[in-house]
């Protein structure tokens, strides 16, 4: 039972973090708090993906004893053990996701500034009242 919890607890932590962000997105009425919730949500997804890359007893995906441009000639001599390095692909995909996260955060904050300039409030209910 304890072994089962240890093998899955990282996912549960990220799901709790994700649900904190989800609750902020759907239940808060302040627009900035909604954006903070969206950011927490995205961070939880990024942590989830990075944790799937982990292999026990493996190191960062940077090759040890790299020969650079000479590698092609000595390729047969050097054997790279795959289980020695953690999976690089989730890290690359999460770099892309961080870029999208920053872009959405910037545009969302710009829209919020614009809404505040026009309506003088960030409360969702008051904005809906002012539109009507």
């Amino acid at each position: 039972m304890l072994e089962f919890i240890i093998s899955k607890y990282n996912f549960w932590i990220y799901i709790i973090l994700m649900m904190i962000g989800f609750y902020a997105m759907i239940a808060k009425t302040n627009l900035v708090k909604k954006i903070i919730g969206m950011n927490i949500f995205q961070t939880a997804i990024i942590l989830f993906f990075v944790s799937t890359a982990y292999k026990s007893d493996a190191t960062l995906p940077i090759l040890l004893n790299s020969q650079g441009h000479g590698a092609g000639h000595h390729a047969a001599e050097q054997v790279i053990e795959v289980s020695q390095y953690i999976n690089p692909l989730p890290h690359v995909l999460m770099l892309t996701a961080i870029v999208v996260m920053v872009a959405t955060l910037g545009v969302a904050l710009a829209i919020v500034i614009r809404v505040y300039r026009d309506y003088g409030t960030l409360n969702e209910d008051e904005i809906i009242k002012a539109i009507k």
């Binding site: 093998s7 989800f22 940077i62 790279i80 795959v82």
Partner: protein
């Protein structure tokens, strides 16, 4: 509204935790995510790109067009920020 949101949040969280029961264990070297495509990148990256850092070689060499698309995303976000925040004199109101 807050109670309804809390109920929806708890239900979604329970569903996701139920989903993790089928996930591979933390630190499993034979998990599906690290057993199909990624060994090829780890073994071939030095021959293909002469770059010791595998993340860099995937980001800038194998998936170079994806990174180019990322810069388009950043450019679009920056342009839309400028267009949203620009003060126009005709429709200026506070």
């Amino acid at each position: 509204m807050k109670v309804l949101g809390f109920i929806v949040t708890v239900l979604t969280g329970a569903l996701l935790i139920y989903g993790t029961l089928d996930m591979p264990n933390y630190g499993d070297p034979d998990s599906p995510a690290s057993s199909h495509v990624s060994p090829r990148y780890i073994t071939d990256t030095e021959i293909d790109t002469a770059t010791p850092n595998i993340v860099t070689s995937v980001l800038a060499d194998y998936r170079g067009y994806d990174t180019l698309g990322e810069t388009t995303v950043i450019f679009t976000a920056g342009m839309s920020c400028i267009l949203i925040l620009r003060r126009r004199k005709k429709s200026y109101k506070v």
